[in-house]
């Protein structure tokens, strides 16, 4: 599903920063993988490149067979919309939209019609057990509920991969466990490829494979 070959990334500036120094990585379809590393190790940069939020200087990145390289912003947005679902540490829901409107948003950019969009978003929320909370605004929801809304938003377009950046980082341990159970279940039952960035060993332990990054290379 994911093929990285010799990825290099340097942040230019007064002192150029060579963050990724030749990453080779393969992740198969349906895998549940975690990426670990200390801060500054380059794991966030790697995640950004995987999520087509950032570009890279050298190497090749193939996502589901498509070469992701030197894309225009519009093209990158299209690929993100079609192939990738994001789950963020701080949820990143839009505050003035209700839960269901937040879940609808990726479908809006996908060009799905209004009624169908609403139906799909409601179905997704139902799976998350949030039907009763659909018309609530994010600030009326608990942390766990918010992360479930965010998960619904990530899943609603049926992406090829889910990228989760510290999905349990902002949650208490009990809720964190619930969210992890949910992600594992999605991986198991719907065979969605899932990549979780974390520095929590407990979270990493629950995944099939742990990828450790140190100083821009995979250990």
């Amino acid at each position: 599903m994911i093929e990285l070959r010799g990825i290099h990334k340097t942040y230019s500036g007064a002192q150029p920063l060579h963050v990724l120094k030749g990453i080779d990585l393969d992740i198969a379809e349906g895998e549940l993988v975690s990426i670990m590393g200390a801060s500054g190790s380059g794991k966030s940069t790697l995640l950004n490149i995987l999520g087509i939020l950032d570009d890279y200087d050298e190497g090749d990145y193939r996502l589901a067979g498509t070469l992701i390289k030197d894309l225009s912003e519009t093209r990158a947005a299209q690929y993100r919309n079609r192939m990738i679902g994001f789950i963020f540490q701080s949820f990143n829901l839009i505050g003035f939209k209700t839960a269901v409107e937040n879940v609808e948003l990726p479908l809006f950019y996908h060009g799905v019609g209004r009624r169908r969009r609403h139906q799909m978003a409601m179905d997704e929320l139902e799976k998350m057990g949030l039907t009763d909370w659909a018309e609530h605004y994010p600030n009326e929801l608990s942390g766990g509920q918010r992360q479930r809304v965010a998960t619904a938003r990530a899943l609603v377009t049926r992406p090829k991969i889910i990228l989760a950046d510290e999905p349990t980082g902002a949650l208490d341990s009990k809720t964190g466990v619930e969210v992890m159970e949910l992600l594992k279940k999605l991986n198991r039952e719907e065979h969605i490829t899932m990549i979780i960035v974390t520095h929590d060993p407990n979270v990493a332990a629950q995944t099939n494979r742990v990828i450790r990054i140190k100083d821009g290379v995979i250990e």
Binding site: N48, G51, L53, D54, E73, T74, A77, Q78, R80, N81, R82, F86, F88, S90, N92, L93, I94, G95, F96, K97, L105, P106, F108, Y109, H110, R114, R153, T157
Partner: protein, 419 residues
């Protein structure tokens, strides 16, 4: 489209005070623009109404004084127009001249009916005078060709005079024979009062007056309507030709510009039109500059909005919003804010114009000699409203452009990092 509007409604609702304060600047700009244009139109219309009293495509010719020595005669001779000049005018310029006539005056005659009398002047005219000076009759008829031919002693009296002479029912004068000086004239028409000047003239056939008051073949002034002279240049060329012909009749130099005076109402109207256009353009410019400050305000607010919503735009982009879709949101919001408040301002401006129309517009100013109104119908037309709408949409786009470009360039990673 519905999505776009509901998005904008959601965001505008969050910042009511800010949105309405910004909107006020735009509304004020448009309000000023409409009021200025309305007032300008009022002035212009008032002027037009004055011009409307006679036909545009007409000229009037007066005798003058030669300023050049010619043909053995020295300068400084008075030129007196006569029947020959009228005949020449009628005969030689048929290409352009439709109807030519002449006017002659007799001052200070006394018109008497029973015990009532008024002091009046007499105007001897041709039938075409009615058309050229847009005379309207309350009753009866104007001078006709038979009156001219037979030198009939018929008279058209002004409404004003009719009321003086027969206070109870002025219309009864119609058909009566009344005394004008020592002579008897038959009243055939009553002329409508012209508000712009006191009507103290009574109108008689030209030939009648010329004969009765011993004018020989002398003529006061010649007037005529014309066609086919559409530019200032054509008019000038015609005037030069006409002047040369009439001058020659009086042994004056053909290019002597003082021998006869030509008053061309058409070129005068053209120049007036030019002046009006300049006024209108000036008003637009002033109004647009007022509006500009409003637009800058909108642009400013949109910049702040974009900054506030940086994170939101980052999220949108991460989940698949293209830069163009972000651009669209901001520009549409800008256009809607500008358009909505602009329309509010436009409605207020139209309201103010209507108020102006109801007060100043309908209040004539009495000068003693004539009455006039400063403002006539001080309102803007549908065309102006459409123009202003266009300006609003354009203004909204311009105001939103910078902030929108800024928003569309937001990079999702940076936006999501900023907390």
């Amino acid at each position: 489209m519905i999505e776009l509007f509901s998005e904008i409604w959601q965001t505008a609702r969050r910042n009511k005070l800010r949105t309405s304060l910004t909107g006020f600047a735009v509304a004020w700009g448009i309000f000023m623009l409409i009021v200025l244009l309305g007032a300008g139109n009022g002035l212009i219309n008032a002027q037009m109404e004055n011009n409307d009293r006679y036909v545009d495509n007409s000229m009037m010719v007066f005798g003058g004084m030669t300023s050049k020595a010619f043909d053995g005669l020295k300068e400084g001779r008075n030129i007196q127009l006569d029947n020959n000049d009228l005949a020449v005018t009628q005969a030689r310029f048929t290409q352009n001249i439709d109807k030519a006539g002449a006017i002659i005056y007799e001052n200070a005659v006394t018109i008497t009916v029973g015990e009532n009398y008024v002091s009046s002047s007499l105007r001897g005219v041709y039938p075409m005078d009615q058309e050229i000076n847009k005379k309207k009759l309350v009753a009866g008829r104007f001078i006709n060709d038979i009156d001219i031919c037979d030198q009939r002693k018929v008279l058209i009296i002004s409404e004003n005079q009719a009321r003086e002479l027969m206070p109870k029912d002025p219309r009864l004068l119609l058909g009566q024979t009344i005394r004008v000086g020592d002579l008897a004239f038959k009243v055939v028409g009553i002329e409508q009062e012209d508000k712009s000047r006191m009507s103290t003239d009574a109108t008689v056939p030209f030939t009648t007056l010329q004969t009765i008051y011993n004018r020989g073949n002398r003529v006061g002034r010649i007037n005529f309507t014309f066609h086919g002279l559409n530019t200032e240049k054509e008019n000038e060329a015609f005037e030069t030709r006409y002047r040369a012909t009439i001058n020659r009749q009086h042994r004056a130099a053909p290019d002597d510009e003082d021998a006869i005076w030509i008053w061309n109402r058409f070129t005068q109207a053209l120049q007036m039109q030019k002046g009006m256009n300049i006024i209108q353009v000036a008003l637009w410019i002033i109004g647009l500059f007022t509006l500009l400050s409003g637009i800058v305000g909108v642009s400013n607010i949109m910049l702040i909005t974009v900054r506030e919503r940086t994170r939101e735009f980052g999220i949108r982009k991460a989940i698949g919003a293209s830069p163009a879709s972000i651009l669209r949101i901001i520009i549409t919001e800008s256009i809607i804010v500008t358009g909505f408040f602009g329309y509010l301002g436009m409605l207020m401006g139209i309201g103010a114009n209507m108020y102006m129309d109801a007060t100043l517009g309908s209040k004539p100013i009495e000068t003693g000699l004539f009455t006039t109104t400063v403002f006539v119908n001080p309102t803007v037309g549908l065309g102006t409203c459409l123009g202003v709408t266009l300006v609003l949409i354009l203004a909204g786009t311009i105001a939103g452009l910078m902030p929108a470009l800024k928003a569309s360039r937001i990079r999702p990673i940076e936006a999501l990092r900023a907390e």
